[in-house]
Amino acid sequence: MSGIAAFLRVVGIMPRSQQRNFVVAQVGVVMMVIAQLVVPLLIQDIIDEGILAEDLGSISRTAFAMICWSVANLAVAGGVAYLSAATATNFAHAIRTHLYDKITTLSYGNIDRLSSGGLLVRMTSDVNIMRTSFMMTMFMLFQAPWLLLGAVALVWWQTPELLWVMGAVVLVTAAFVLAVAPALGPLYAAAQRRLDRLNVVFRENIAGIRVVKAFNRDELETERFRERNHDLYDAQLRPAFRVASFQPVLFGLLYGAVGLAVVVVGPDIADGVVAADPDAVTPGELTTFFNYLLTAMIPIMIVAFVLPELSKFQASLERAIEVFETEPDVTQPDKATDPGPISGRIEFRDVSMSYLDDDGRPGSLPVLANLSFTIEPGETVAILGQTGSGKTSLINLIPRFYDVTEGAVLIDGHDVRELDLDALRQQIGIAPQQAQLFAGSIIENLRYGNVDSSFEEVQRAAEIADAHEFISSQVAGYDSMLAEQGNNLSGGQRQRLSLARAINVDPRILLLDDTTSAVDVATEARIQRRLRDELAGRTVVIVAQRISTAIGADKIVLLDDGRVDAIGTHAELMASSAAYAEIVESQLGSIDEVVDLLEHR
């Protein structure tokens, strides 16, 4: 029942034109119901006044009328079907586009909590479910009350003696349907959840096929799959068993009513025939009553059929509403300052940060704690630190992918939370840790952050990222198509495309999150040299594991468990930080050894 309320609420907030469609369609629905009730009456006329009276003229006249009604019914049904299809698909289109528009306003934290998989399901299968049940409801469900009303009215008119039999059987069946049908919604939902769980295994075995094969665990995976598959079997059987009882019970009740009618009015009919009483119930009327009973069963069947669909509708709608009602963690400020072209000075002022938990409250474990340092315009700064020490979290604060929990990040002296979000991000280029590329040509990917860039600009960016050479060796050069996720390239090649894409933004601040981890040292050295020469004057922040990446930086920040452990140039840190010196030695060997090597080259 709450499904109907959800449906009507949706109709209530639809645009005027769609509401008009709905109202017109409902008028059509009433006309369809009238046609459906009239045609059996005409058939009855054909039998009573035509066939039984052996009056061929009457048969043809009534038959013609019946055909006319059927044609009219087809025309009206066509209209209603068209309006329903239009409204349902418009609704699906609207939900889909509004959902996506909303998703683009969500911040990284919102996306983490809603999970991209969950968002995807809402945009695809949920929309599909809502469209199907919307269509069904609009076309079918509202026939039910009119049909029931019509059937009752007809019985009242033709055989008022049997009205109570009809009332009784309708009440009993309605009670049965209302007892069984609402439980179907949750059962279907449970089956859907099991199906989702099963599809996770399916998808993981596609995405992780190398791991499955490498560890030879196809038996384990098969077992995991079979188990969930059997769970799904159980879950799908439960509603199916309930549905299996519908048609037998409804028909049982129907014939129960017929039997009752025969007992109730049988003697009257016989007496009426014997006494030739014109007011008595006739045998023909008993047959008619049987037909009206059938008519009265149709709306109940419709309700039984549509109600579970509506609860699916409601479930999907609620999931969409959850997204619509999500407050973005990071928002455009009310009075945004446009910083104009920035110089690239970045200051972290006593910054602490925790990721939000599922309820949107800061988690108890801070990822960054009381962090303060400044990056001057045009500096290259390297961030080093152990796994999980907060390096990625730190640079994600600069373009406001996440916001600080305490303290502030300032760019050119402005708190980033007061700057116009687009103006801020347009001046920042980022190459994230995982090089996310899109299906399409290489040049489309490189132009992703700067659609209007010329070919020369793109090529220059590719050269700086040391990607030009391998791009040129592809069959179609810059127009070569990338497979999904750039899977037809090696890890190092994907990283270099991602880097070129960030450079092509022509940013004032360039953020490189371990962008060259899969690139060999020689190539990396070339990239670093070119970055230095070609991007002079821009602020570059590099997260790195390799000391060779960090060593030439103007400043090195060594993070430890979310705090600044040491900060300074390489020489300063060599002198002041044992931890840093240890990193250097572990990667490069002892200084004497290196110097020795280099001098003998």
Partner: protein, 589 residues
């Protein structure tokens, strides 16, 4: 209906009919139920006839018979409905199992050639179309066919000519269903295509939403979503509209048929060739017949999409795995770990050769470093050793046995791999660790996690080792790598392969892992790919690859002395401008 289409339907039905006994029982129940139901009009008619003759003495018995038959028939059809539901769900379970198991046998070449979105559509929407067919359409078809044939028999017995008139509905309905159905099918398949394209794009921009936002491309992607959704909307509207038109159209045909029955029957009643009562019965049959045709009309589109879906699912089921055990494949319970590549050529696609004449020999127990520029073919060598792909020419042997002659299961048990991209399952940490080896105990896994330096952060997770990893979203990249290393330690292989296993791990952590690995690697063969040359400096031998060709092989010192490719590569990490920086005095320790 061409033969392929029929073949698919028969094959689908084969799944439904796997439990012959149950199917037979369900059919018997169904037949019993509908035969009993067909007596109802007779009993009811007789009762009405009695009443019309003024005799009400039999009402009690008639009513009891009507109710009794109804209860009996309801019971039978309830049982058959249940059995049909079991058959349908069992068929789906079997089909899904077959699909999954078949996908497991396919090699990486197959996965390379398929788009993930397309495979995804096969396991979701195609399977769902078949589910609709099994759980709704088949039962409806059987029931309708059953009712129609019972009615046909009774009608023929009454009057063959009138039966012919009733049957006139069949060609009319076939035309209507055919014409509409074909349009619906066409619209439906272009909708599927549109939706496929739409969902493919949506998948990319929703899962890559962070990148979209990082490059401020929200507006552009939203416009594209809108355009694709608009396309899908148009086709969708048309197919929905037409499929809802089917039923009223068949109803019109049905009423035409009833008019014909009444007219022809009326004429024949007037000239006395049949009774008036028989005409009335035939009008009733005409109505019922039409009702069944309406049921069938709704099934048509379901059958269409099931066949289309079935064809795509069977395509996967029928794909031949190209890497399988040879007939006389040898078991290999343990391995010393001697590895040899002899003149190995390899290409992923015919137009681009990746490895050229690779030859090298690794004595058991050695640690081998693989170095070279990106795209040189380092990961490819690993892919070949574990037979993810088969080579074009040459041989690869382990302990002197050609790997194509070793049982695939054994070969992969002997080799443990840490892959470049740290893939973890959406399961608990413990599940992911135990993944390494069947029967690994909890303690063994904890010990491995300690060795891989993962124990500490695992304990800080909300549920420790029992925390469910949401596709690793709650871990940093480096932490995920530590888990995959721990997983490899659990697997306890004879040949261990580390492909950039520590690229996102800091050196201090790496060094600690290295100590653990040293013990692990002491007596087993291992291959290590790394760009941080410090990681592989201590290897027994270093294989230097460039553009798919082996440039040099030898230990670090030897290669440095040779002053070749490796020497150059090694020195490049000490760029001249860093030299001064390096001369800075180290901190007092």
């Amino acid at each position: 209906m061409n033969t392929r289409r029929r073949g698919t339907l028969v094959r689908l039905f084969g799944y439904f009919a796997r439990q012959r006994l149950r199917l037979g029982f369900a059919m018997a129940m169904l037949i019993a139920g509908s035969v009993i139901m067909s007596f109802q009009p007779v009993v009811f008619g007789a009762a009405v006839d009695d009443l019309a003759a003024g005799d009400s003495s039999g009402v009690g018995r008639s009513a009891a018979t009507i109710v009794g038959l109804a209860v009996l028939s309801a019971l039978f059809s309830f049982v058959s409905n249940r059995e049909l539901a079991v058959l349908a769900q069992r068929a789906m379970e079997d089909l899904r199992n077959d699909l999954f198991e078949s996908m497991q046998t396919l090699s990486l070449r197959y996965y390379d050639s398929q788009s993930a979105g397309d495979l995804d559509a096969r396991i979701t929407s195609d399977i769902e179309a078949i589910n609709q067919f099994f759980s709704a359409a088949i039962a409806r078809m059987i029931a309708a066919t059953m009712t129609l044939s019972t009615m046909l028999v009774i009608m023929f017995a009454l009057d063959p000519l009138m039966t012919g008139v009733v049957l006139l509905i069949v060609p009319m309905a076939v035309v209507v269903i055919g014409v509409l159905g074909r349009r619906v099918q066409a619209d439906f398949s272009s909708f599927q295509q549109n939706v496929g394209e739409l969902n493919g794009y949506v998948e990319e921009v929703v899962q890559g939403q962070k990148t979209v936002q990082a490059f401020a491309r929200q507006a552009g992607s939203a416009t594209h979503v809108r355009a694709l959704s608009e396309e899908a909307r148009k086709v969708d509207r048309s197919s929905q509209f037409l499929s809802y038109l089917m039923q009223p159209a068949v109803r019109l045909v049905n009423n035409l048929d009833i008019a014909l029955i009444a007219l022809i029957g009326g004429v024949r009643a007037v000239n006395g060739s049949i009774t008036v009562g028989e005409v009335v019965s035939f009008v009733g049959y005409g109505q019922q017949f039409g009702g069944q045709m309406m049921q069938l009309s709704q099934v048509v589109s379901q059958v269409g999409s099931a066949v289309a879906g079935g064809r795509r699912v069977f395509e996967v089921l029928d794909a031949e795995p190209d890497i399988v055990d040879a007939d006389d494949a040898r078991p290999m319970a343990t391995a010393e770990g001697e590895v040899e590549f002899a003149h190995v050529d390899f290409s992923y696609t015919p137009d681009k050769q990746i490895l050229f004449d690779n030859t090298f020999h690794v004595p058991a127990g050695q640690t081998i470093g693989l170095v070279g520029p990106t795209g040189a073919g380092k990961s490819t060598i690993i892919n070949l050793l574990t037979r993810f792909y088969d080579i074009d020419s040459g041989t690869i042997t382990i302990d002197g046995v050609d790997i194509t002659e070793i049982r695939l299961d054994d070969l992969r048990h002997r080799c443990g791999v840490v892959l470049q991209v740290p893939f973890l399952f959406t399961e608990t940490v413990m599940y992911n660790l135990q993944y390494g080896r069947e029967g690994a105990t909890r303690d063994e896994c904890v010990a491995a996690a300690k060795q891989a330096n993962a124990h500490e952060f695992i304990q800080r997770l909300p549920d420790g080792y029992d925390t469910v990893l949401e596709r690793g979203e709650n871990l940093s990249q480096g932490q995920r790598q530590l888990l995959t290393i721990a997983r490899a330690i659990v697997s306890d292989p004879d040949v261990l392969v580390l492909d950039e296993a520590t690229s996102s791990v800091d050196t201090r952590t790496e060094r600690r892992i290295q100590e653990a690995l040293d013990a692990l690697l002491a007596d087993r063969t291992s291959f290590v790919i790394a760009h941080r040359l410090s990681t592989i400096r201590d290897a027994d031998q270093i294989i230097v690859l460039d553009a798919g060709r082996i440039q040099e092989i030898g230990p670090h010192d030897e290669l440095m002395a040779a002053r070749g490719f490796y020497h150059r590569l090694y020195l490049e990490q000490f760029r001249p401008e860093l030299l001064d920086a390096l001369r800075a005095p180290p901190a007092a320790r």
